[in-house]
């Protein structure tokens, strides 16, 4: 076990004994999590399991009551570390009265194109060319962001988060607004980005089937990490019952994996 622990890759995300109470209710009750750098993993759990709260802790949007978050081997999420991270929210809060185009939305995210207001579109397109091509959003550049479909918006959001070449990419329910045929394409695209760029990808989702196919490791959350391991190990009936059922006691693992990081 010790040898296995020492041979682990460096961690992109390390969470230790994280506790968060919201409105007096314990939402996270001692979460321990270690995500190796360069992996594509999924954090799954039913509604109310604390997925969003944990994600907010990782993004520095929620202060934990106790415990620690260490990202990219540096420290808690702060301005310096956040610059090395990408975040893809479920959807935007855009009002249709706001005429922000995809080109403008991408330009405001990148220092090189920050002066978009005064630049001709051709110049901006030249500077955004690489990421726009990678995510296949070229034909969307002139469209208002508020008018995009769920699938188109997700592509644009991922494209914008890749502009700053993140080492860690966090996606919150990435296929929530995407139709079923679009989901498979979407996960293929993420997997392709992951392979090509070698960055760490964390999918926060309750979408079990897609996660099963694409994540190399799955963490099941329900106030605590009930179970973690390879998808086929975690997705067995017992561990899903732990995550989605009414019994919240941590699952005693029967499958081979390291216990060094999550401490139960």
């Amino acid at each position: 076990m010790d040898i296995a622990f020492r041979s682990q890759k460096p961690a992109a995300v390390e969470v230790q004994d994280l506790h968060v109470r919201l409105g007096g209710n314990p939402v996270l009750r001692g979460v321990n999590l270690r995500i190796e750098a360069g992996r594509m993993v999924a954090l799954i759990g039913p509604n109310g399991s604390g997925k969003t709260t944990l994600l907010r802790c990782l993004l520095g949007l929620q202060k934990p009551d106790s415990g620690s978050v260490r990202l990219l081997q540096e420290g808690p999420p702060g301005p310096g570390i956040l610059k090395r991270m990408g975040y893809v929210p479920q959807r935007l809060q855009l009002d249709p009265s706001f005429m922000l185009t995809v080109r403008e939305f991408l330009a405001i995210r990148r220092p090189l194109t920050a002066s978009w207001f005064w630049r001709p579109s051709r110049q901006i397109d030249a500077l955004l060319h690489e990421a726009v091509g990678e995510m296949d959003v070229t034909r969307l550049l002139d469209r208002p962001v508020a008018g995009l479909s769920g699938g188109q918006l997700q592509r644009v959001l991922i494209c914008s988060s890749l502009l700053n070449e993140p080492e860690l990419l966090l996606l919150d329910e990435p296929t929530a607004g995407v139709d079923t045929p679009g989901e498979a394409d979407f996960y293929e695209l993420i997997a392709e980005v992951h392979r090509r760029r070698g960055l760490t990808v964390v999918l926060v989702s309750h979408d079990l089937s897609m996660v099963y196919r694409h994540a190399s490791r799955v963490y099941a959350l329900n106030g605590v990490i009930c179970c973690e391991g390879a998808p086929e190990e975690v997705m067995n009936a017992e561990s899903l019952r732990q995550a989605y059922g009414i019994h919240f006691t941590p699952y005693q693992h029967q499958h081979p994996h390291s216990h060094g990081s999550h401490g139960h």
């Binding site: 935007l92 706001f98 922000l100």
Partner: protein, 271 residues
């Protein structure tokens, strides 16, 4: 042609504040803050009344300060209580108007001033107001352009803005302060009741014609400028308060923008 000095002051003030309201209005409408703008405008009435009660000849300073206090109170109550936004604003709007009316009714000789502040009056615009409007145009306009990307990102998604390094809380407070000062100062021209029209109509009309945020901002600036100055100029020969004249000019521009957008679409469908 001789221009009356009061007319010159009013037109200049309109030329300064019209585009500024149009610019800031793009973010006010997108962030659904029209009612917020209306609330801080109504709060100004209590500030005006306090100014008169203190015996000040010009109530501009207490008017702006009181609106800022109410704006701060809205944010504070939003953060500290479970009250809904609408409830907080309705509470403070009606409370401020009631306070203003009580103070004004206790003072003798100020009832006549009420109409000026409710509906706007070009005669009440002094050189000091015009100069202040220019200073506000330069400072608020510069800050808006300087923080344009951060504001656009905040409008799109506040958490995404945070992760991108935008100081969300400070930007929110700063935006509210800039909006409050701009609205309070525009009350001279439009009056408390109609001032929100200069913040809301130009971006709404611009949205009908624009195909990008850049176009929407530029068009909204232009429509604010035309609407405010046009309304002030019309109010003199028609002998009407400037507020309704500006608002009706803006409404006319909005109708034209709707027609323009229909024509645009018909042209696109034909080609």
């Amino acid at each position: 042609m001789d221009i009356e000095p009061f007319m010159l002051r009013a037109v200049l003030t309109a030329l300064f504040l019209g585009p500024l309201c149009g610019f800031i209005g793009v973010f006010v409408t997108a962030r659904r803050m029209s009612f917020f703008s209306d609330t801080v405008a109504h709060a100004a009435l209590a500030g005006v009344a306090l100014g008169f009660w203190l015996g000040l000849p010009d109530p501009t300073v207490p008017m702006i300060l009181f609106s800022l206090v109410i704006a701060g109170l809205i944010l504070w109550l939003k953060e500290r209580t479970a009250l809904l936004n609408d409830t907080i604003m309705a509470l403070l709007l009606s409370g401020s108007v009631a306070l203003g009316m009580v103070i004004l009714s206790l003072l003798k000789g100020y009832r006549g001033e009420l109409d000026r502040y409710l509906f706007g009056d070009i005669l009440s615009v002094g050189w000091g107001d015009a100069a202040l409007a220019l200073v506000v145009l330069i400072t608020v306009g510069s800050v808006l352009f300087w923080k344009l990307n951060a504001l656009a990102l905040l409008t799109a998604h506040s958490d995404l803005a945070h992760v991108s390094g935008v100081p969300v809380r400070w930007l929110n407070y700063g935006f509210v302060a800039l909006l409050t000062v701009t609205v309070a100062l525009s009350i001279r021209l439009l009056g408390i009741i109609l001032v929100t029209s200069l913040v809301v109509i130009p971006p709404a009309a611009a949205r009908n014609l624009a195909r990008s945020l850049r176009q929407q901002i530029l068009l909204s600036l232009f429509l604010g400028l035309i609407g405010a100055s046009g309304g002030v100029i019309l109010s003199y020969p028609l002998n009407l308060p400037s507020g309704p004249c500006i608002t009706l000019t803006l409404a006319g521009l909005f109708v034209l923008s709707l027609l323009g957008s229909r024509l645009q679409r018909a042209h696109q469908n034909a080609s």
